[in-house]
């Protein structure tokens, strides 16, 4: 038995809680990755991200219940649909703000997020809607990890989000397209002079970041209730993750997402009352020691 804060726990249970922490970390990583991409390329602190995550879950629900389109198609369609709304927001509002202080983008996206959440609450109520775990995944049965039996859907969430995170990192850091993007962030005028349509690239980047949020929403729908406030309860934590990882750092946000999921999970065992504050305590400490975040570059 291991004892911390007067709370004893067997190693087997401890491993179980770490595994669960990784599942939550997968959501944090996916969402903070989208935020990091948007901040890195657009310099916009996208506070609509939580609402867009929620929209992803609702689109999945609507596809299933109104059109009979199941989970697997929703995994593709919801990010595209919600990403398209993101493109509209960028074209209509955000493009006017790039030259202004970060604060304007923050306030605008925060307001848009509140409006979207309010509209959904008005239409669908607050109790949430049920979305069943896809039968194909449920059929696998619990996955025996030796120390615990993890429901198959949770395993899927971790595997799938790790794959998406790595693919995103690869595209941005290792491909020609990613190189254009990074160059456009550094010096848009010069990149435009080479014949690359920078505004369109920025629009699509925002759409992509929003799509990542929606993808997180689809993944979350079978685990949590599909409810209008599901985004607002996670987004604050995700911002803390991004700040800890370093604003705009792709790899930083992925690693920090998973790590904080685990830390939060362990807090739920040893001192559950603090489980929704522990991340902010860590954020405060990191900001004191490394103001640019763990993986951030000081400029």
């Amino acid at each position: 038995m291991i004892e911390i804060f007067g709370h004893s726990i067997s190693p087997i249970q401890l491993y179980g809680q770490i595994a669960l922490g990784l599942v939550n970390g997968a959501f944090y990583a996916l969402l903070s990755l989208g935020l990091a991409v948007i901040f890195g390329m657009l310099n916009i602190v996208n506070f609509t991200h939580g609402a867009q995550y929620m929209m992803g879950a609702f689109v999945a629900w609507l596809l299933l219940n109104k059109l009979g389109i199941g989970y697997w198609w929703a995994l593709v369609l919801a990010p595209v649909i919600v990403g398209a709304t993101g493109v509209a927001i960028e074209r209509l509002f955000l493009k006017h703000l790039y030259k202004l202080d970060h604060l304007y983008g923050l306030l605008l996206t925060f307001g848009v997020g509140l409006i979207i959440e309010g509209l959904f609450r008005n239409e669908f109520g607050a109790s949430g809607l049920p979305y069943r775990i896809p039968a194909e995944i449920q059929a696998f049965g619990p996955v025996d990890l030796g120390f615990m039996r993890l429901p198959p859907y949770r395993v899927w969430v971790v595997v799938f989000s790790v794959a998406v995170c790595l693919a995103t990192w690869f595209i941005i850091e290792r491909t020609r397209l990613g190189a254009y993007l990074r160059a456009a962030t550094e010096n848009p005028t010069l990149v435009q002079a080479f014949g690359i349509n920078v505004p369109r690239m920025i629009t699509l980047t925002y759409g992509f970041g929003v799509g990542l949020a929606a993808l997180g929403g689809v993944l979350a729908a079978p685990i949590y209730q599909v409810s209008p406030q599901m985004g607002s309860s996670i987004i604050i934590v995700v911002f803390a993750v991004v700040v800890i990882g370093g604003m705009g750092s792709i790899l930083g946000s992925i690693l920090t997402g998973f790590a904080l999921g685990v830390i939060e999970g362990l807090t739920k065992v040893f001192y559950p009352e603090a489980s929704n504050t522990v991340i902010f305590v860590i954020m405060a400490i990191v900001l004191l020691i490394k103001p640019a975040g763990l993986f951030g570059r000081t400029t």
Binding site: L20, K268, P272
Partner: protein
């Protein structure tokens, strides 16, 4: 300055016009519905509570007898400070005579104090803590619909008697959760059961898997959910995902509302046992009310909280009409206690000296999907707890008004 004489004239006219009903403050009865309008308790209270209060006023026909009634509503955001500030502003500035509903026990306890200080009336439907008729009882407050003691006693008793004698609690970490846990623990221990542990989670938690795993490790036969709204829904949903029910452990939802069952869907919610004091499909009168209510509430059927708001406002209006006055809150509450209650939703009942409204409670079980024959057909009745046994005995509450 020509304005001054005009103002004086207007004031004089105002006084003359008010003369007819000099005892009704500001010439109108003003009802404040303070609720959760934007978060986890919105569907079980929220806009539905505003509608229930309106329907009570319409059905009472009081407007036809020369009384003017007005409404105001606000969102307390589940914060006690926000709630008490709104209450203060309503009483001091906006001429509100009574506040109804107030889900969230922490907010309700705060409003309880403000109402007593201002000598107004507080009719609690949404909040659960039995402290409102216990140590913190007030001559200005009536706790209408249910409380933590009813839930603990109804559900706890029934479960221990059918063999669920070891418990682990998942408790919402605030006034309501603590009270519900304490009340249930007392019942379980009294019946010879034992407590194997508890974990207190923050309000509005998304992921319960960690807590559920701790509950599973305790090997308790019953995992008691001392939480409400979205927290309960996510607990039940994730317990199903982790296959906790069926491996010798069962969930006891201590506070489950109709809208929670609707949100979960019968495949996940089936078999849950819990206590409520009102169900829309109980009799012809409740069905008729539910039909009228849901038509004006996007199809959402009334929860017991909505029913309690309706019933309490009806009784309040009767008292004000009898007194022909609404200024002295304690006097109105005294009148409400002195008169037996009678309305279509809770039937005949009474209000006790400690401010506890008395009516029967019911033990319900959620139907299997195959048993449900129409929309919102979710509950089957397991037992009726008679009014005299449903609530905490007057002498046990520790309320000063009880003596």
């Amino acid at each position: 300055m020509r304005i001054a004489p005009a103002l004086a004239l207007a004031a004089a006219l105002g006084v003359t016009a008010g003369g007819a009903q000099a005892q009704i403050t500001n010439n109108e009865i003003k009802i404040g519905i303070l609720s959760d309008m934007s978060s986890l308790y919105t569907d079980l209270a929220g806009a539905g509570s505003v509608l229930a209060a309106r329907m009570a006023v319409e059905d009472s026909g009081i407007a036809g007898r020369g009384f003017k009634v007005d409404f105001v509503s606000a969102d307390h955001q589940n914060k006690a400070d926000v709630g008490s500030n709104i209450a203060r502003q309503w009483y001091d500035r906006d001429g509100v005579d009574l506040i109804v509903d107030v889900p969230n026990s922490a907010v309700a306890l705060a409003v309880n104090t403000v109402t007593r200080e201002k000598n107004k009336v507080f009719l609690v439907s949404g909040a659960a803590t039995s402290a409102l008729t216990g140590a913190q009882c007030s001559p200005n407050t009536i706790h209408w619909t249910y409380d933590t003691w009813v839930l603990a006693n109804g559900t706890g008793n029934a479960i221990v008697k059918t063999g669920g004698d070891s418990w682990f609690f998942l408790t919402a970490d605030y006034a309501f959760g603590h009270q519900l846990e304490a009340d249930t623990e007392a019942v379980v221990v009294k019946q010879g059961g034992k407590m194997l542990g508890k974990v207190r989670h923050p309000l509005n938690t998304q992921d319960f898997s960690s807590f559920l795993l701790q509950a599973q490790a305790s090997k308790a036969k019953i995992i008691g959910l001392a939480n409400a709204g979205g927290d309960t829904v996510n607990s039940v949903k994730q317990a199903a995902e982790f296959g906790i029910v069926g491996k010798g452990q069962n969930l006891a939802g201590l506070l489950i509302f109709l809208t929670d069952v609707h949100g979960l869907g019968l495949p996940t919610a089936q078999g849950l046992i819990f206590t409520e004091t009102f169900y829309w499909d109980a009799n012809d009168q409740s069905r008729a009310f539910a039909k009228r209510f849901s038509e004006r509430n996007k199809g959402i059927h009334p929860t017991m909280v909505h029913a309690g708001v309706y019933s309490s406002v009806i009784h309040y209006l009767k008292a004000v009409e009898a007194l022909k006055a609404d200024g002295d809150g304690a006097a109105v509450v005294r009148q409400m206690k002195a008169t037996p209650t009678d309305d279509p939703l809770f039937g005949k009942g009474s209000v006790r000296a400690d401010g506890r409204k008395i009516h029967p409670a019911y033990l319900y079980e959620v139907k299997k999907p195959s048993e449900s024959t129409k929309p919102w057909d979710y509950y089957k009745l397991r037992a009726t707890i008679p009014a005299e046994e449903a609530f905490r005995p007057l002498k046990d509450g520790g309320c000063a008004l009880a003596n």
